[in-house]
Symmetry: C2
Subunit: 353 residues, 2 copies
């Protein structure tokens, strides 16, 4: 076979079957095939098959005004936990014969805007946005006026007293406040009284809410001291977690935390590194909790205690909302809040005496 085999058009199929293109179009479209006589239908379909015809999705979409594609914007493809979210999106999309177009932003606001423009240019039917920064609120509200947009994972609500007026109508979030609170309460129950958090970027709602959860849990325990540093992680990475933890461990012993709540698993892993490097032992000297329950964190040494986030389900729900809205179907519950699960493993233990 030779490269450059020109692509077969509907015209050619029609000609080969001896019918008009309109008829060929009907015969090949399951929705309309019943409008065509049995005989012509099979004739057209046979011709199509033998010529290797494949509908030009661009032409069809251009004509129909919808593409059957779903834009998905994530911050970090290399985050295994994001992969699960993408899986959920993909499953749901497939069930609706839609195709996800995936774009990565790496926490760059400019990249987010480029991604959106690009997806709009490609006329996606809807967008799932899983990499929003708080400062993107106005921009995203604008976009969601132009097509159905679902926020996933990160949103714009960080208030303490209930949901604010929604800039974006549809979202699938996880209860970060609660997840953090549960985690810290567990540490308190283990007897820890000097606890620090490794906080993620201020621009990201998940981290703001986890911060609040941390603070609220600490407030319930009179004897407990928050010994966090004020510094935030510049990025969610092992090395940042290590750096921040190192700072905490340099302090005189009575100022050192006996437990660390990291805003995500990667930073928690960095914490484990720092603890080991400092000649200390986790959890005997310092306990560590992460967030996300990323793949493989159960195989670390020690296996990481963390908060599980239902990422697959989140992807599914977000895609479901997006596609329903795109199809003009009514949305029963446009704002979904999923519950986190605390997963206790061996990186947490009783406070040292």
């Amino acid at each position: 076979m030779v490269t450059g085999a020109r692509t077969v058009t509907l015209r050619e199929v029609a000609a080969s079957a001896g019918v008009h293109v309109a008829t060929a179009s009907r015969a090949l479209n399951p929705e309309q095939a019943h409008l065509v006589s049995e005989r012509t239908r099979t004739r057209v379909q046979t011709a199509a098959r033998s010529l290797g015809y494949r509908t030009n999705a661009l032409a069809r979409s251009l004509r129909q005004g919808r593409t059957g594609s779903l834009g998905v914007i994530v911050a970090d493809l290399a985050n295994p936990f994001i992969a699960n979210l993408l899986r959920g999106v993909e499953e749901e999309a497939r069930a609706h014969a839609a195709m996800p177009l995936i774009v990565e932003t790496r926490e760059d606001p400019a990249a987010l805007r480029r991604a959106v423009q690009r997806l709009l240019g490609n006329r996606v039917d809807a967008i799932v946005l899983a990499s929003a920064h708080l400062a993107d609120a106005d921009y995203v509200a604008d976009v969601s006026a132009q097509l159905p947009l679902v926020l996933a994972l990160r949103g714009f609500d960080v208030g303490e007293d209930g949901p604010e007026p929604a800039a974006v109508e549809m979202q699938v979030m996880q209860d970060d406040h609660r997840g953090a609170k549960v985690a810290v309460e567990h540490l308190l129950r283990l007897g820890h009284r000097r606890i620090a958090q490794l906080a993620g970027a201020e621009q990201i709602s998940s981290f703001v809410n986890r911060r609040r959860g941390f603070a609220d849990a600490m407030a319930t325990a009179p004897g407990a001291r928050d010994v966090s540093s004020e510094e935030r992680a510049n990025e969610s990475s092992v090395s940042e977690g290590k750096r921040l933890t190192w700072r905490l461990l340099e302090r005189p012993e009575e100022e050192r935390p006996t437990a660390i709540f990291a805003h995500n698993d990667l930073m928690a892993i960095g914490a484990l590194d720092a603890i080991r490097d400092a000649g200390l032992v986790c959890p005997a000297d310092v306990s560590v909790v992460g967030y996300n329950d990323s793949p493989l964190v159960d195989h670390l040494s020690p296996p990481l205690t963390t908060v599980r986030l239902p990422s697959r389900e989140m992807g599914r729900s977000a895609a479901r909302l997006a596609l329903a809205a795109a199809a003009g179907r009514p949305i029963a519950a446009p704002r979904i809040l999923l519950e986190p699960t605390y997963i206790e493993r061996r990186s947490t233990g009783p406070a040292p005496a």
Copy 2:
């Protein structure tokens, strides 16, 4: 702003600027903008901006016969090592103003065919295929006759005597044979004499070639015994690695391996689990080597010795080839073979006495 804001067309921009659509088209296209007078150009551009115009990529692609999109087919999105490959693809695509369309197959041949059909329907300019099975060779050859296709990661050459006649002209592979050979030679040098491999699926060239590398290395050491079981892993997962290793450790001691070469990191992790469950210690009792150098395997207990595969570079090269071919640019080297690097960590040690 109200939802449903109808999308602005070039016609409206032209009208608003008081010019013909053709002129507006030129003014807005960087390649042709120089054909338009300074004045009209700015007038059109202003109009476009103020109306919020955005080129309809579908219409443009339909007319131009190319879409500026690159199909990427991978087996497993949740594999962190694949994320790096995707990053490489994305970087290169962005540099060429192209957009990757990512599809996952999960090792399902039917899914591969669906993915290809879908991408062809979307008229991608080229395809990077990173999830080929050996049995897909004919199908893939057919496809690559229709548009530029680059094999990445997995190919169809598993022969022992040099490259076979190429079914697909372009590919970016990694020297699996060499990677495996180096790993096993290291084990032999450590004094191991009973060595087993945990073999991946027969349908995947990488595994076939790693198998060959294993065999060739063993053949160089007269006293060494291959104590592998004949069974292959059904999938590349921790649980499969664990199951297969468990089988090996059930044997009487003199039939048990003192070192295990796993065809990938996930199976190696399963091996570590099984060893621990059996009450043995890695590497004192059994050494373990993986493949891929996936993120975080340096944080396992013990940190995993493995073979690093330059996945980012692989993605870049594959995308570069694909886009060059799509653009009709000459391809200097259509078949690239990247070198693996052996990464020694602490899951390997001297053979027990």
